[in-house]
Subunit: 260 residues, 2 copies
Amino acid sequence: MDKVERFLVQRVTEEGRRETEELVTRELPLTIIINEHELTTLLCSPDKLDYLAIGFLFSEGLISHKDEIKKVLVDDRRGVVRVETTEKRDFKDETPFKRLITSGCGAGSFYRAADMQNMTEVTSQIQISPVEVFARVREFQHHSETFKATGGVHSAALCDNENILLFADDIGRHNAIDKIFGECILKDIPTDDRIIITSGRIPSEILLKVAKRRIPIIISVSAPTDLGVKLAANSGITLIGFVRGKRMNVYTNAWRVKTS
Amino acid sequence: MDKVERFLVQRVTEEGRRETEELVTRELPLTIIINEHELTTLLCSPDKLDYLAIGFLFSEGLISHKDEIKKVLVDDRRGVVRVETTEKRDFKDETPFKRLITSGCGAGSFYRAADMQNMTEVTSQIQISPVEVFARVREFQHHSETFKATGGVHSAALCDNENILLFADDIGRHNAIDKIFGECILKDIPTDDRIIITSGRIPSEILLKVAKRRIPIIISVSAPTDLGVKLAANSGITLIGFVRGKRMNVYTNAWRVKTS
């Protein structure tokens, strides 16, 4: 399914107007059904729907390992992903988001005070140099063709010090990260000593998502919130924000940023 | 409650690093309780919490008029707004967001296929000139001090052709719009022939929110999604996007944009 659609728009300036074709990013309502139980509907960009569904279920704590997944069926025309688990668990009482509606673009995360208290510290000893941060962010920013065409999506990437390993984009920044995590789960790609880059801001719920996968470094070209910073500090995660050209802010656990 | 907090961060360049103070935007988990029923918790910026709660309840279709509100009690330290309605209605079965998790920053909207089908057409005959659009957007962009300080919030404004009437910002673009609508409801400010400006993208759920208040023109400095454009077309709303300097795209109902 195409991620963009052409629309006829009027391009207006003070001098006049003319009709022109514009690419507009597509938005798909995607319903996730788990063991015959309709769990939720996300608004998302129409690709990597299997990764998105699995990443979302992981972020919500409804599955924790690939072995629990028996089948993933994607119907992208109807906007449905059906997930069957190996164990015949009943998800009827699961209502993600009933309690908390997130500030973030995209799926958001089912967020409880308990989430913050039960976080185990991320202890990975990896480090990254400023030169590596600037280089990975530059690659990241060149990566998103959809964004360049339509200005309408957020991107996320999983990297190590030398390379971008996985890339995803979505109208929701949460979805972009869940697509990355879903792909990691389905393809057994480890995340322990890796780095997440996001085009979006870092509020608490993005931080919780990344902490759940025990990722030691999160990098954003944008700003964190105070709760994002506090959660990163408490969970041992290095939060790097406002990466602009060859400048950045390290908000927490700066020991992972090597001195040049 | 302050909307920003100071953090000590490391400013890192290729040449070296130094400690510096940075302003970081604050994020408050706000629980909305209606008639003793805990409805939901939003992540938001900590101001105009009464407006946010009332705007949210309106957008969710749980209240439709100021007369239905008996009392609004804000406890900004604990992050709670208690709303009491005049009629002793029980909201126990209301679970906003159970079905659909939105792509947007902020509160999002409880979104159903029915929402789209039941939309009545916005018939306001107001028009706006390109010069007025460019001037209002310029004022709008100068308005948000928080954004300039921290890069962490979205803004929304209600205007007429000549002036910005109301302004709000929030870490969630939905919240910013709900703060505007809540203020309109509590202060009896009409919205029928008015204009909404948003700093964020325009996906379907933002469009539904604006349609619910029968606002004829929505302007964004950013991009819409295809569903946003289709809903605007079907509901008689003029959608203007990508306003950059003295250029803009009119996606739908371009007759409301006057020829210069």
